[in-house]
């Protein structure tokens, strides 16, 4: 058995060596396809972290009616917290709000303006999950004592981020699909070339009664190896890309939350497995044809 496996492996690797350029083309395209699709998958998981982070960060400012006495205002906290999806509600008295405003914009000269503190009492409300944001905002707005249209949040910013992610996802998926198809064709071609290059050997094998498994397994193995190498390379590139992105972009937006640690062994297993499976399928299609030709005389 071991001897047999050794023979098959030897056969398919000699084919890989002979077909260097075709193998190279097939492996690189598989690699790119898997990189794009795997990267999307990873981005999806990472973005979940980011989006959750965004949810923690994203807060709405709930402005209260000026007419509401300060004492009643502080009592609203219980009502807000009772709304499902609300993570926290912090009371910001008008004096506190002014301090913050001045801190953020030191050039405003309130004293110079000679007016009273114009800010209302407010709450800063945070949600557990970003998707609940709109519902929560709506419900908070209905609470008695809240100023009409007094719930303020950066809606556009949030939607823009979501839309961008969606567009990127679609673009990536389209590009990945094209790459996947191309790599499939390349694997198919390289296996067909192998079949042609090995036609003498194949004929002899068939002549002396080698089983179909022994005859065709080297070619299937060739496809599997191409796919697997592509998957392995993609994992490495993805790993590198992940680190770069983490360094550059995510660090800048660190407030949004951090992307997960790169799940190297998981990604490696999944992507190499996917590549191998894809290579197997493509080479099986490439090899099916000669099998059918053989049968065509049988009627």
């Amino acid at each position: 058995m071991l001897d047999r496996i050794e023979f098959l492996i030897g056969e398919s690797f000699s084919a890989l060596r002979r077909n260097t350029w075709m193998t190279f083309a097939a492996v690189t395209t598989v690699c790119m396809a898997i990189f794009i699709l795997g990267g999307l998958g990873l981005a999806f998981f990472s973005f979940r972290n980011v989006v959750v982070g965004l949810g923690q960060r994203a807060e709405m400012k709930v402005l209260l009616l000026d007419t509401l006495p300060d004492r009643d205002a502080s009592l609203l906290q219980g009502q807000i917290l009772a709304i499902p999806g609300v993570k926290s509600a912090t009371f910001v008295p008008r004096s506190e709000g002014l301090k913050q405003l001045l801190k953020e914009n030191p050039d405003i000269d309130v004293e110079g303006l000679q007016i009273d503190n114009p800010l209302p009492n407010a709450y800063v409300v945070r949600v557990t999950e970003l998707k609940d944001f709109d519902i929560v905002a709506d419900q908070v707005g209905r609470i008695k004592g809240v100023e009409p249209r007094g719930v303020k949040y950066p809606a556009d910013e949030k939607n823009f981020l979501m839309d961008t992610v969606k567009v990127l996802q679609w673009l990536g998926m389209a590009l990945g699909a094209i790459m996947l198809a191309t790599s499939g064709i390349l694997i198919y071609n390289s296996i067909r070339m192998s079949v042609v290059a090995r036609r003498r050997e194949i004929r002899i094998m068939q002549l002396v009664g080698a089983t179909r498994f022994m005859v065709w397994a080297p070619m299937l193995l060739e496809g599997i190896v191409q796919g697997a190498i592509g998957g392995a390379l993609a994992t490495l590139i993805l790993w590198g890309a992940h680190n770069v992105v983490q360094e550059a972009v995510i660090k800048g937006l660190s407030a949004l939350g951090r992307p997960g640690v790169f799940p190297f062994s998981l990604a490696f297993t999944v992507l190499v497995g996917a590549g191998a499976l894809y290579g197997f399928v493509c080479s099986l299609i490439a090899v099916r044809e000669p099998l059918q030709v053989k049968r065509s005389l049988a009627t």
């Binding site: 003498r200 002396v208 080698a210 099998l291 009627t299």
Partner: protein, 273 residues
């Protein structure tokens, strides 16, 4: 056509009304009925295109017959599933018309490769290859590449490769096709030796001088039909002799007989060379 004369059961190889249509217009065989017993040595003769190779390919299932029946050892091959073809071929040795040697492999590697493809281990290869090369008298050239060998030597390697599964049946297609008379005799003698050890041998050839020289059973084909079928049986069954062979089958005057292939068998003067 000859009637089977053995009393013991079914013949080893039995063709009954076998037709092979390669296409609507090209017929390989047009109704061949032929029985071959175990241990026989049979020459399939006939000019190019008469269907010799097709008969052999029906047995090895390289060609599927369109009607009639082909039996080997009582086993009907008509509906043999494709997956069983490999097993069938391991029970016969096939020597193809071109030798089918792998040019980038040495003599022993050619045999070893075929054995490994059949699932044998390296150890078995190391043990068996010298034996087989010895039998075909090629042991001294084991390390040569096919291009370094003469035609006769290449043919012997091809025969050796056909022996790797120790088959009870050997099918050789034009084994002397590219050889000079002396090497032709050597190759047929080699096949004869194997036949003496019990292997059934079927040789397709248009090399009539060789056929005469060895005097085995001759089945003459023309345009996909059996024209003459001689028997050379030890039990004294009267065989059709060369006279009938030559009188019944006069070749049409075309380029073919310039080769002297279809001259009277006993004469044999015209050499193929």
């Amino acid at each position: 056509m000859r009637q089977q004369n053995t009393s013991a059961g079914a013949p080893y190889i039995a063709f009954a009304n076998v037709e092979v249509a390669y296409s609507d217009f090209v017929q390989g065989l047009r109704g061949v009925t032929l029985n071959i017993d175990k241990g026989e040595f049979v020459f399939l003769c006939g000019r190019t295109g008469s269907g010799k190779s097709t008969v052999l390919k029906c047995l090895s299932r390289e060609v599927w017959h369109t009607s009639g029946s082909v039996c080997l050892e009582g086993r009907e091959l008509t509906h043999l599933p494709v997956k069983d073809v490999a097993h069938l071929r391991r029970q016969m040795g096939i020597v193809p018309q071109d030798f089918g040697l792998l040019p980038n492999k040495r003599v022993w590697e050619n045999l070893g490769y075929a054995m490994r493809a059949c699932g044998r281990t390296r150890r078995e290869v190391r043990k068996l290859v010298p034996d087989i090369l010895e039998r075909v008298n090629m042991l001294q050239r084991a390390d040569a590449f096919p291009r370094e060998l003469s035609g006769g030597e290449q043919q012997r390697v091809a025969i050796g490769r056909a022996l790797i599964n120790n088959p009870p049946l050997l099918l050789a297609d034009e084994p002397t096709g590219n050889l000079d008379p002396q090497h032709s005799v050597e190759v047929i003698e080699l096949l004869q030796q194997l036949n003496l050890r019990g292997t059934t041998v079927v040789v397709a050839t248009h090399d009539m001088p060789i056929v005469e020289k060895f005097g085995h059973r001759v089945v003459l084909l023309d345009e996909g039909r059996i024209v003459t079928n001689t028997l050379d049986h030890p039990d004294g069954q009267p065989s059709l002799d060369g006279e009938i062979l030559s009188s019944k089958y006069q070749p049409q005057t075309n380029g073919q007989d310039a080769l002297g292939l279809f001259g009277p068998i006993p004469a044999g003067g015209s050499s193929d060379a």
